[in-house]
Every structure is written in C-alpha cells, then in structure tokens.
Amino acid sequence: MQTNTSINKKTGRSINDAFASKFAKSMFLSVSALVILSFIGTRMFTHVDLNLYGYMVGTIVFIGGFFYRFIAWGERPPTKILIKKGLKLLKRKSTPKTAVNHLGIYDFIKNRGLYRWVQHILIGWGCVLACMVTFPLVFGWMYFTMDDNGHYTIVLMGLNLMTVKADGIIAWFSYNALNISASMVIAGVCMALHRRLKNMQARAEQKFIYDFLPLYLLLFISITGLLLTVQNVFLHGWMQPQMSLIHQFSVIVTLIYLPFGKLAHIPFRPVSVFARNYREHYGDQAMKECKVCGDHFVSVEQSNDVINVLGVNEMEFNMQDGFNLAELCLPCRRKYRISRFSGFATHQVKVKEANQNAKG
C-alpha cells in the first residue's frame, strides 16, 4: 500500500486519483465494459432479454466479490511479485502450451489420478460451456432471430454470424448446449461426491462447508436447469416460470459465493501459468548454487524474491557460522539442521541422504 501511494505522489495527478480505491476503479472499469459490450451486442439495447436480469445483478455482485478478494490477495508480497513478473513473461513462447496444459486439459490432475481427472474435466468443461452460453445471452452479446420460417440467424455482438436451419445440427447443439453441460456437471459432481463419501484418503481432509457445499450448489443448478427442459418438452411448460426463478436464484447464490470458497480457484488458477513461466524463464537465466554441495537448486531470481518476501515478514535466516539458510539446497538445509541439533557437521559429510522413503 505504501509503495502505491508514493508512486501516485511522484507522478502527480494520475487517473487513479479519480477513484477512491483500487477496488472502486476496477469495479467501475468492468461494469462500464459490461455495459458498453451489451450496448454494442444488443444493437443499442434493442434486444435485451429482461427475463434474465437476475443474472445481470448476480454477475455484478460476483465481480464485486471477485475484485474484493483478488485485490486483497494481490497485495500480499509474494503474490504481488509473482503477478508482476508473470505479466511481464506472458509473451514467452511456451505460454500457450502451458496454459492449455494447466487450464484446458489439466495434465497435472491426471497425474493425481485418472478418476479425479475425469471428474474435473466433466465439471470444469461443463461449467465453462454453460457460462459461454449463458452470459452472452444474459448480456445480449448473442441472441437468435428468426427472419424467415425455418431459419434462425445467430447474432453475435450485433453482427449476423450465420443463418442456420431450425432443425439442423448447429441449431440442435445451440438449444441443447445447456442440457449437455448440465449432464456433464451432474456426472462430474456425482463422481466427486462418490469419491468424497467412499475414498478414505479424500475423507481424511474434507470439510462439509468447504468441500461439499460447492458440489451441492453445482448439482442444484444443473438439476433445476435440466428440469426446465423437462418441463418444456414433456409438461408443456408446467410450472416453468417458478422453476426458472429457482434456477436463477441458485445461479445467483453460487455466483456470490464463488470468490470466497473452494470455487475461488477458478478465477485465480491462471496464476499457475505465471508460476511456470517464472520458474522456466529465470531458471534459464541463472541458477543458484548450494553453498555446501554446489548443486543448482533454484533460480537466483526466485531465491532473491523469497528472501525479500521473508524480509518483509522480518524473517532472515543468517547463521552464526556466516551463511544464510537460503544459500543451502534442501537436503543440505536438512542436514545442517541435524548438525545444529547434534553438534556434528552432518552437512559436510559427502554422503547422499539415504533411505528417506520407508522402503526397508
């Protein structure tokens, strides 16, 4: 915070002075962006679907919660450094590949178990698909018109994207996208619930509010959404307005909850791409050598960043015998601790740490 104010003072009057806080500024900018996009998308508000206004309110509350959390989080010293350097490194060649790996196909989750991976793909992509359909509709970025019988025109951002046959395959996918996504989410959530109830490893660490609530919310949204279709197709729209309200309500509650619980990892997760870029980029530049064994164990940049962050928290690990613990690789650091306990310089004995995995 302090560095911020001093920067603002130096540059004299900046645009930031117009806002009471970072939060106010971010809120203002994103709500304006939403309004402008909707203005363009709906051909100057001539195609607004007012049935969906509950979602609009929900989205704006979500944006508020998101910025509130994100800004508080981004102010923490380690996060600040990572975001700043990560943004700079976004142009790396490997960024698209890393992003697909981390955010699209979740390779690392596959390594945590195939079951968890399938479950995450179903829930993750189900939600993404649903959002990609719902929000453009809510804000009028996309809508359908029927000019001549039997053909729909899909209008995207005010431009006629394409005309499709009403009983064609693209039209079928458009009507059913939300049903497909709901089925995916229901399948994924059921897998997750099954694991949470049966698997002892998962049961050991879970908490009801943190681990189950988001699953039940997603399940509720998906089931009420599917019921809407059922009412439409089989019950001639019986009770549909009521169900539509319940569904809308469940989505709004989830949106409001999203930045604060387990689901918060969705908007924050892209930072893992920053982290990978950061490690690769600075790792190529210069590696730090362990003061005792000479191993390259981390990039110089990261080591310095961590030392700085710990410095902010008034932690400095300078030893009486002259070095700083940050200069030791991890095995040497552990052996050094043993030496502090025993009085014998274990870390100076050139023997690899032996038998650390309980395999006989």
Partner: protein, 186 residues
C-alpha cells in the same frame, strides 16, 4: 487437553517406523512427509528424525503466493490445498529446515500436516503413535514441563526448541543429552 508433538532426538534408533507410518496417514496417498538422518553416516549409527516443526510464524505459508498453506486452529501448518497450490515452489526454498516436498508431475507441494485428521481430535499423529523408542511423543505442556524438571541439569544444556531453532515452533524439540556428554536414564 492440548497436546504437542515432542521430540527427544537422541532416542532415535533409526528404525524408520515414523517414515512408514506417515505414508499411512489419511490424505497422504502413501507418501511420507518426514525424514530420518544419519548424523555421522561414515562413523556411527546415530540417527535423528526431522519433520516439520509447525512454526508459529511459518516461512512456508508467508512465502506462498496462492495462500495454499493454511494454519489450522490447533497451530498445525497444513499441507498445500490441492486446488490452490500453483506449483511455484516458494515454500520449499523458504522453509529454514527444508521440509516441504514437491511433486513436479502433480504440480503440487505436500508437507507434514501433523496428521490433522487425527491430531485435531487429540489422537497422536501417526509417527508419534508408532515410534518404538519414545523419540516422537505426544504430550501436554505439563508433561513436557515435568520432563524438563526431570532432566534439569541446571547447566542450560537441557533446552527445548529455542534458541536452537529459527523461530518459535509448536513442536518441541529436546536437544540431545548423550551427544552433549550427559547420560540419560529412561
């Protein structure tokens, strides 16, 4: 009654039961999170365990950009939350004792969580339950104090934790008597 993990390092006989036990704790997915070291491997058989000391002001959690390392109300410093850890490995190089382990394949840090599913209910952690030599114990503060009295040599050599560590810790460590030339009766 709040109990703590208490280490009497010189008792260690190097059986590595604690490593095996750690793999069996719930949520550990059969990987251990602690260490046992030979003190002077080429000369004698003295060993000592090393595990997370659950710092009061944990460097690992302070350095984590994702707030993935949470501190439990019991004071235990937990392992990374799987959905939050972004795999930067800051924590591994921040810890003054080199405790957190990192799985590059899963892009995930894991560390001793004091077997939180057990210790939050007052059940001793896995490693302390199996240790055959009383190196790892699960004691109340009064019991630890009683031990201190029992071994009080009035020469400042029996010390728990500070000032031999880098900060206050929730785990108490007893500096070894044998290696300081003090004979101890069990």
């Amino acid at each position: 009654m709040k109990k703590r993990l208490y280490l009497e390092l010189e008792n260690c006989i190097g059986c590595r039961s604690c490593l095996a036990a750690c793999t069996q704790c719930g949520g550990h997915e059969e990987r251990n999170r602690n260490y046992v070291y030979d003190v002077n491997p080429l000369v004698n058989r003295q060993t000592m365990p090393l595990m997370c000391l659950h710092c009061v002001n944990p460097a690992c959690a302070r350095s984590c950009p994702a707030q993935a390392i949470q501190i439990h109300e019991t004071g235990a410093v937990l392992s990374a939350l799987v959905e939050k850890c972004i795999g930067c490995q800051n924590c591994t190089i921040a810890c003054p004792y080199g405790i957190p382990k990192f799985d590059t394949e899963q892009n995930l840090m894991y560390k001793c969580d004091l077997c939180i599913d057990r210790s939050k209910d007052g059940i001793p952690p896995m490693c302390a339950s199996v240790c055959p030599s009383n190196t790892l114990q699960w004691l109340t503060d009064e019991e630890i104090e009683a031990k201190q009295k029992q071994f009080n040599l009035d020469n400042g050599k029996w010390v728990t934790s500070m000032p031999y560590l880098e900060g206050e810790t929730n785990v108490r460590v007893n500096l070894p008597g044998i290696l300081q030339g003090v004979t101890k009766l069990f």
